[in-house]
């Protein structure tokens, strides 16, 4: 009991600490001062009156939402003596594997750099800056010569690394025995059973209405759809993050989706956000990074060739280029098993004083990275809002899809969950695929790394991502894959 209380107060203290630095705190303070002018506020009951004032004017709700949003990414309570690496990834062998994977990526990037003799970063000449500024809204029309660039890695390379993961404490032996997993992933992680999944995803059960199924033309709208839409509008009127997250588990109506997602991710388009985006934009214009060319190449290869997303090419550049300059993203490495790569000023290798993170946000894009952004273009049309939503989605969910960790939403667990489900419930299919030499994971891995973007029709994809937001977990992806298979 005491321990729990201690943990709770620790959590509260940490969240308060974090929020104190945010602009919401400043706004609340300002509002409190303003409220002193009001006649309802009396000196004797100052605290209660101000609280009441906050409640009426909706500021309390905003605070609720901010706290809720912090809690979703807050780490689980852990042993007080554990070092910070444990927050990133508790299992040592996983950390090691991630470390060596990162070294490989960096090596590949550096070798491309030396081969093409392009600096990792350079300042743009003024003429070029002006040109880029003019072309900012139509960067897709640019046709730079990207033939020599290749993506740093593709999902299949990553899959090979995952297949070779081994827990040194777990004796599998060289030969196949009954403990060997039939699938590709050979790591003994705990994944949910079907019964646990059923409990977890209780809102997706057959007797609960779902958008996407129960709003089909044959079903009269009075049965489910109308009520659900009304409920959605009510949730939006209340501006309650937690309620929205609960609501969206049954799918979101098309017209309300953009606002619901913004509410759940606690993204609002304040002037400060616009300014921040403009700042990032000017960073892009002033400096040219090697990573930019990788982004260009990726967009041209993937999104531009997609039947539905080719239209949004320009938005993708605007978002991704700014994303790579955003140092705020570095914050998520506290709970990501990956670490941002460091680069040293020429000649000062090894000296920490001269190290910078490269790229500034620490994320090196791989083949297919731009597909994370593409479906969002359907919902958001101002670049700054689109950017914020993407950033939130990335630091909450997408980063787990391409880093090695034992987290239950991490890609390794998702793969294992997929294979286990397939083996348990569709054993004949699994066996048949193995026999013909097509391990099911090889087929469906790339679907999962991209969170099905580009592989599912947009409306269905957005419904799927509704559930990801609703359950705050990527496990739905692993559950969907056997259904698709």
């Amino acid at each position: 009991m005491l321990q729990e209380e201690e943990d709770l107060s620790l959590t509260i203290a940490q969240i308060v600490q974090k929020l104190k630095g945010s602009r919401l705190y400043a706004q609340l303070e300002r509002q409190a001062w303003v409220s002193l002018q009001k006649p309802e506020i009396k000196l004797e009951t100052l605290k209660e009156d101000i609280k009441e004032f906050f409640r009426i004017t909706g500021w309390e709700k905003k605070l609720h939402n901010a706290v809720y949003s912090e809690l979703t990414v807050f780490p689980l309570p852990r042993h007080p003596a554990a070092p910070p690496e444990h927050l990133k990834e508790p299992l040592v062998y996983m950390r090691k594997a991630q470390g060596s994977w990162e070294k490989r990526i960096l090596k590949s990037l550096n070798s491309m750099c030396t081969e093409l003799s392009i600096p990792l970063a350079r300042k743009r000449p003024v003429v070029e800056q002006k040109e880029l500024l003019n072309k900012w809204n139509e960067m897709g029309t640019d046709e730079p010569d990207l033939s020599l660039f290749r993506p740093v890695y593709a999902p299949k390379d990553f899959l090979e690394v995952l297949i070779n993961l081994r827990n040194p404490n777990y004796e599998n032996g060289e030969h196949l025995n009954f403990k060997t997993h039939l699938g590709l992933i050979q790591v003994p992680l705990k994944v949910k059973y079907i019964s646990e999944l059923k409990e977890f995803f209780v809102e997706l059960s057959l007797n609960t209405g779902q958008l996407g199924i129960d709003d089909a033309t044959q079903v009269p709208p009075e049965l489910f759809e109308n009520e659900h839409v009304r409920l959605g509008q009510k949730v939006l009127a209340e501006q309650d993050s937690a309620a929205a997250q609960q609501y969206i588990r049954q799918g979101s109506p098309t017209a309300l989706r953009a606002e619901l997602w913004a509410l759940i991710l606690n993204v609002s388009n304040q002037p400060e956000d616009l300014l921040y985006y403009e700042q990032l934009k000017s960073n892009v214009i002033q400096h040219d990074l090697l990573v930019d060319s990788l982004i260009y190449k990726d967009v041209k290869l993937t999104a531009s060739n997609d039947d539905y997303y080719f239209v949004f090419e320009d938005y993708l550049y605007q978002v991704l280029l700014c994303f790579s300059r955003d140092t705020a993203v570095l914050g998520h490495f506290a709970y990501n098993s990956a670490s941002p790569p460091k680069s040293y000023i020429r000649g000062k290798l090894g000296m920490e004083d001269y190290a910078v993170f490269y790229p500034p946000n620490g994320v090196i894009p791989f083949h297919g990275f731009s597909m994370y952004v593409a479906p969002l273009c359907f919902l958001y049309h101002e670049p700054s809002k689109l950017y914020q939503i993407f950033r939130e989605m990335y630091v909450r969910f997408f980063f787990r899809l391409h880093s090695i960790s034992s987290h239950h939403s991490g890609i390794v667990s998702l793969c294992l969950l997929f294979e286990t489900l397939l083996q348990t419930h569709l054993p004949q299919l699994f066996y048949h695929l193995r026999e013909i030499g097509a391990q099911p994971l090889r087929i469906s891995f790339k679907w999962m790394v991209r969170a099905f973007s580009g592989y599912l029709a947009t409306d269905q994809l957005l419904l799927l991502w509704d559930r990801i937001l609703g359950y705050n977990s990527l496990e739905i992806l692993a559950v969907l894959r056997p259904r698709v298979a």
Binding site: E143, T254, S304
Partner: protein
């Protein structure tokens, strides 16, 4: 040409004569099927039906025919050829709707009539056609209008061409001065050979943009008869994007302004793999998530209005024949205020497919067209046809047969057949079931589902099953 039944053979007007020359032999019959690649370079043939055998036949000759290139078929079954109108009147059929100058004239006349008979409000519903002037005949009127609003952009389109050929934009009168000189000369000629007429139309400068690109919609409307007017609207359609970002600064860049696929295909960065098309469902969802369902409903209702009014305006001039039908491709442009504008109506919309999805759409469209046309089962021979063309037709026919009927199984009371919804049946068609009096409550919802879910296979199966069960009952 002509009824071929001893009617006085009138001298067919020049346009038709031109076609005859191309066609080589064959006269009589009243169908045409164009075949060929996307450039529509097929020949049009007319086939003898003298002795007739009541059989449908159409000819297929193509340079690059293949299963993917199918063409619009305007079939006037020869069994009814007896009553078919002579070629001049035939000329007066779809041309009234599809030639841009005729379209404008008819709409203006219809608008005046509505204003007289019903009122200004109803007449205002006809304002979906941008201000157009026929040149050279209305040149002075055009100049007057031009001078009234200086600085705006106008677009010049040849009346009878397609695929974006011959179109250009201009802002100054001097751009068309040279063109005028040529015209002055030919005024004296009273030849039947039609001079290439142009229309000058006000260019819509604030089109709705998606991803910075301009686009237009292609929607399919099937008209079974004009008097009484019976029209069906297909649920699917597509949105054609221009390949480059929209800007008013470069009006010479065709690739920016013209969205025809034919023009885009020649654009330097056209990639046939990616195509520049969206299905209308996706477009409808995009708009709903951006503007909300009510505004989108209004937009689609306005589009329905365009279809109906445009057909009504030519109702009296087109010689109606119960045994003829026509499939039109409507081109609609949407501006920033979500107002739809009619660009043009195509009598023979291209049915060449640029992608798998496109192919799906067009094959289903044709299949459903044939269902509705309800062709009698008889041998279909392709005369003058290439082997692939024949095979393609047979495949179409067999697919129709797959639904099992060789008899007319459409009772004529259906409001939906596959992907087609009955839009107008001598009056608006309501989504509600018959018998429920919705007119009184004012909650009339039109029976159109453009951009909505198209579960046509299911619907066709239901239709067929109900027919079958009816048969069992009666027999």
């Amino acid at each position: 040409m002509g009824g071929g039944r001893g009617r006085g053979r009138k001298r067919a007007p020049a346009l038709l004569r031109q076609r005859d020359a191309q066609a080589g032999e064959g006269r009589g019959g009243h169908f045409q099927a164009g075949w060929g690649g996307p450039q529509k370079s097929g020949r049009r043939c007319n086939v003898q039906t003298e002795e007739s055998m009541f059989e449908d036949s159409w000819c297929a000759k193509s340079e690059r025919a293949g299963p993917e290139s199918m063409y619009p078929i305007q079939v006037h079954s020869p069994e009814y050829s007896y009553g078919c109108p002579p070629p001049q009147a035939w000329l007066g059929r779809s041309e009234r709707l599809t030639r841009k100058n005729y379209m404008v004239k008819n709409l203006k006349r219809f608008r005046k009539q509505l204003e007289r008979e019903v009122g200004k409000l109803e007449a205002a519903k006809c304002d979906f056609f941008p201000k157009t002037f026929e040149l050279p005949s209305d040149y002075h009127l055009f100049v007057e209008e031009f001078r009234k609003t200086p600085g705006i952009t106008w677009i010049m389109k040849p009346v009878a061409r397609s695929q974006g050929k011959g179109i250009f934009l201009f802002r100054k009168l001097k751009d068309i001065m040279d063109w005028r000189k040529d015209v002055g000369r030919s005024d004296d000629q009273k030849d039947d050979i039609p001079v290439e007429n142009y229309v000058a139309q006000r260019y819509i400068e604030n089109p709705y943009l998606i991803g910075g690109r301009k686009f237009d919609l292609r929607v399919y409307v099937l008209v079974m008869s004009y008097i009484p007017l019976r029209a069906w609207l297909y649920r699917d359609g597509f949105v054609r994007f221009s390949n480059t970002r929209f800007t008013l600064s470069s009006i010479d860049d065709h690739y920016v302004h013209l969205t025809n696929v034919a023009v885009q295909k020649t654009s330097p960065d056209y990639d046939p793999e990616k195509g520049c098309k969206w299905m209308i469902q996706r477009f409808r969802q995009y708009l709903t998530s951006k503007h909300g369902p009510e505004m989108v409903e209004t937009l689609f209702r306005d589009m329905d209005n365009i279809f109906i009014k445009s057909l009504q305006s030519v109702q009296k001039v087109i010689i109606s024949d119960k045994h003829c039908f026509e499939l039109y491709g409507y081109d609609i442009l949407i501006d920033q205020d979500l107002k739809p504008w009619l660009l043009e109506v195509n009598a023979s919309p291209s049915l060449a497919a640029s992608s798998q999805e496109d192919y799906q759409l067009k094959t289903c469209l044709l299949e459903d067209t044939l269902h509705i046309v309800d062709m009698e089962a008889s041998t279909h021979r392709a005369a003058h046809g290439s082997v692939e063309g024949k095979a393609c037709l047979l495949r179409l026919y067999r697919r129709k047969q797959a639904y099992g009927s060789r008899l007319a199984w459409l009772t004529g009371k259906e409001k939906r057949v596959g992907g087609f919804d009955l839009m107008w049946n001598d009056g608006p068609v309501s989504r509600e079931e018959e018998g429920i009096d919705t007119a009184g409550t004012g909650n009339f919802v039109a029976n159109t589902h453009l951009g909505c879910n198209n579960d046509r296979k299911k619907q066709l199966r239901q239709l067929f099953c109900s027919f079958h069960s009816q048969k069992k009952v009666t027999s």
